[in-house]
Symmetry: C2
Subunit: 306 residues, 2 copies
């Protein structure tokens, strides 16, 4: 059962800490495809691929190391977070059923609650109640608001009903492949990035498959529309970027560049190419490497929202 796991940890500045976290994943016998760190976000995204049972061990080891090394009481970054190991999603690959990833999320959640004393919130496909499907809702109030929220009766799925003193809480979930896609704007005014983010995201009346935040990037002297494309073969990189460009243009601002955090599935890249190249019949199977290597890793999995 091949799965991807994409732990997001609240550390984007100390390479030694990230190396230690990465080593924990490797030692558990999964492949670390990459680590994307951002100093302004003060956050890093690990992309792990491997067999399910080993991934469970790797995800636990990553979480344990993050809890040991990261103290949120001294953590300032522009990206929302409520945990040292903030989010741990499992993604089915190569035909693995989503239900298998939901089960992994529940088993990991139980261990993180019992052994690391983290309050655990299950989200997306693993959510135990509708209001916990959406990560932004689960994380609302961030680390700083967590104690009050838990005291107010918001009971986690696993673990204690009070925050871990230094590591906060963790969201563990199962989801389809998403693309984390950031567009930099030619302005230092974060209000414009926020306005564009509101306009392009689904919750603001924008594109169905887009979540977005406007963030300042002090170290780069610019601002960014930070997006998650949650159905990247339906709402593509291209369509999202086109709308960002249009909305930013209303303020006389241009997109100066973009970046992908982690990896883009070939199916998502092909879907974007179908649009930008006007190649109406184009798909992953038209890529030489795909034709040579075989079936895509993602894109054929179950899609409960379809």
């Amino acid at each position: 059962m091949l799965v991807e796991c994409v732990p997001n940890v609240s550390e984007g500045r100390r390479p030694d800490v990230l190396a230690a976290i990465r080593d924990q994943a490797s030692a558990a016998g999964v492949r670390v495809l990459g680590v994307s760190a951002d100093p302004d976000h003060h956050r890093a995204v690990l992309t792990l691929v491997g067999e399910g049972e080993r991934m469970l061990e790797a995800a636990f080891a990553v979480a344990a190391e993050a809890v040991r090394r990261i103290d949120l009481r001294h953590h300032r970054g522009v990206h929302p977070r409520f945990g040292a190991v903030d989010v741990i999603p499992f993604v089915p690959l190569a035909g693995t059923p989503m239900a298998y990833c939901v089960e992994l999320a529940r088993r990991l959640g139980a261990r993180l609650g019992a052994e690391l004393e983290l309050p655990v919130f299950l989200y997306e496909q693993a959510a135990t109640r509708p209001e916990r499907r959406n990560l932004a809702d689960v994380r609302r109030g961030q680390f700083e608001g967590l104690a009050a929220r838990l005291a107010g009766g918001d009971v986690p799925d696993f673990g204690p009903s009070s925050p871990h003193p230094s590591a906060g809480a963790v969201a563990v979930g199962a989801r389809g492949p998403l693309v984390a896609f950031n567009a930099m704007l030619g302005t230092a005014d974060v209000a414009i990035a926020r306005a564009v983010a509101r306009a392009v995201r689904a919750s603001g009346g924008g594109l169905a498959g887009v979540k977005a935040l406007g963030l300042a990037l002090p170290s780069r002297g610019t601002v960014q529309v930070s997006m998650n494309l949650v159905h990247p073969e339906r709402t593509t990189l291209w369509r999202a970027l086109e709308l960002v460009r249009r909305e930013a243009a209303r303020y006389g601002v241009a997109v100066t560049g973009t970046e992908i955090v982690g990896f883009v599935p070939l199916g998502a890249l092909a879907a974007a190419a179908r649009e930008f190249l006007q190649a109406h019949g184009f798909g992953p199977g038209d890529v030489l490497e795909q034709a040579y290597w075989g079936a895509p890793l993602t894109g054929a999995g179950p899609d409960p929202d379809a």
Copy 2:
């Protein structure tokens, strides 16, 4: 030694003939990734991948079957051609040296000349003189002008100095991966397609990596700018299409769609994505499948024009 071979045969209408040709390649022990046939071009492109010695056998068997089955005396199509098996390029994959493909081209040429009695012209990296590098020059005058050309002293690299009566001649070469990319225009006026083709291709002052022809597509009631991108990581699909759109717009005409003939290497797709997504650091290694599977098949090979 992994190589790709992309024989172009002058048959785009009879599925039984294409199946017979395809079967010859399979029987020789190479993989047939696909066959792209176009009835207006009256031409098909086979994409074969395999080990070099087997590919030599496969290419010979494909050529022999095409010579048996295709009679150019009765062949009318919009794409230029001078042979039943018109062009046979070898493309190095996975680090195979270009010199190895040049050697394959020479060995295949010798066999085609001796055993099938085809005049053989070596082209591109396999060319034996500068004026035969460019395929369009090698094929000038097409099948109908071939007898006069050979009689005029244009001596082929192998084979007889007169055309094969029904199968004409063949161009055999070695080259890097190219992308065959066709843009359909919203007009039936082939003069506009020709004007756009002239403007975008290198020989007309357009883009360095682009060869282009304007062709009518009677069966679709439209016209097409048929392009070869010969350095698709430098002159990308995106840049070529943008220029086609601009040039067509000068005539009040839009691009209605595009198609890729054969396959696009992941490196070429990533290079286009880098441009259209403004993702200045993007590359094939940012694609999940690439990161998982390993090195790209193309893109790292020797580039004598660089």
